[in-house]
Symmetry: C2
Subunit: 197 residues, 2 copies
């Protein structure tokens, strides 16, 4: 069954070991911030630093593993129709909108949407790490290090599929930052299936 | 008074708001992993994701701020004689040595040295984030995202100076990963001074 995350919102759910999570961009050029926690010990959390270090690449795709802060496999990318995602920036938040977009009284972003969705699992604001930002297109100038947030490469209907390597709590959003989705706020779809799908 | 962190070891100490921390590479081409916590609430911790996002650059230098996970100023870089540091990779650990260097029975790295040093402040292994890797020279291919860890650009005696924006617990190492320091394990020096230094 396909579930929809409405624009500018977030969800949290349990993904059991061996289950596959398909994340689809139904309209194209939208981003979904994904975080993951060990269901049985939520101090174990997805780690961008470990994952990028072990992959030896800034951009992860099919075959790559998303590791926890304890260097254990959390999720494996088993299919990727887009091939470009970000794993360096934190979820957008009221502070992001204040500091980067100069909004005086911003609404919340992915950070606040993840906080709301994850609270039922006992996960607090300080426990939200750098997300795996699905479909987010971040370019980096190798000389100056300048970061450019570009429109996602995802076209309508394209997906990424991740398989759980342990029982997980997943938090996911439809991104609220204009720069990340070419200033059109859209939904994100997801589906949970068995490992044989 | 100059303090020395011997090769392959770590320290932790309190840095009060307004104090300046000078980190010096006494022999050249050595890396120091730095982490920071709010002294009064250690769930508030240095955040690479926030800092890179707000700077709009992967490489931070003089004038840049290192932000916490709560988007508050923790440290400001007030002087930088080297100009190249990393803020994407987690501290090297036994797992790093196993996974990247294929060592069957590795000794500990910066992760374990930070754990040992920070334990007296009630900070545990899961609470060690992506460090600000002083003098670490990481290059990224903008097309493939390939990460290359290169010899640091720091020459003997060169320094970076950071000023505390709040009362902090600081953890710091002399890096244990050969790739990071051109396979010569050296000490790191540091000095705490008043903000007028």
């Amino acid at each position: 069954m396909i579930q929809r995350i409405p624009p500018k919102s977030g969800v949290a759910f349990i993904l059991r070991k061996g289950q596959r999570l398909t994340v689809t961009d139904p309209e194209g050029e939208q981003v979904s911030d994904l975080v993951a926690y060990n269901l049985d010990d939520r101090k174990e959390v997805i780690s961008s630093g470990r994952s990028l270090d072990y992959a030896g690449r800034m951009f992860l795709t099919t075959g790559d593993v998303l590791y926890s802060n304890r260097s254990r496999d959390m999720l494996k990318i088993v299919k990727d129709e887009v091939g470009r995602h970000d794993f360096t920036l934190t979820p957008c938040s009221k502070d992001t909108f204040r500091k980067l977009y100069n909004e005086a009284d911003p609404q919340g972003g992915c950070q606040e949407n993840l906080e709301a969705a994850l609270s039922e699992y006992g996960i607090g604001p300080d426990d939200i790490p750098i997300a795996f930002n699905i479909f987010m297109h971040v370019a980096m100038d190798p000389e100056t290090g300048k970061i450019s947030v570009l429109p996602p490469l995802s076209k309508a209907g394209q997906s990424i599929v991740l398989e759980a390597c342990m029982d997980l709590v997943i938090g996911m959003t439809s991104c609220s930052a204009g720069e990340s989705n070419n200033f059109v706020y859209k939904p994100i779809d997801y589906q949970i299936g068995s490992g044989v799908a």
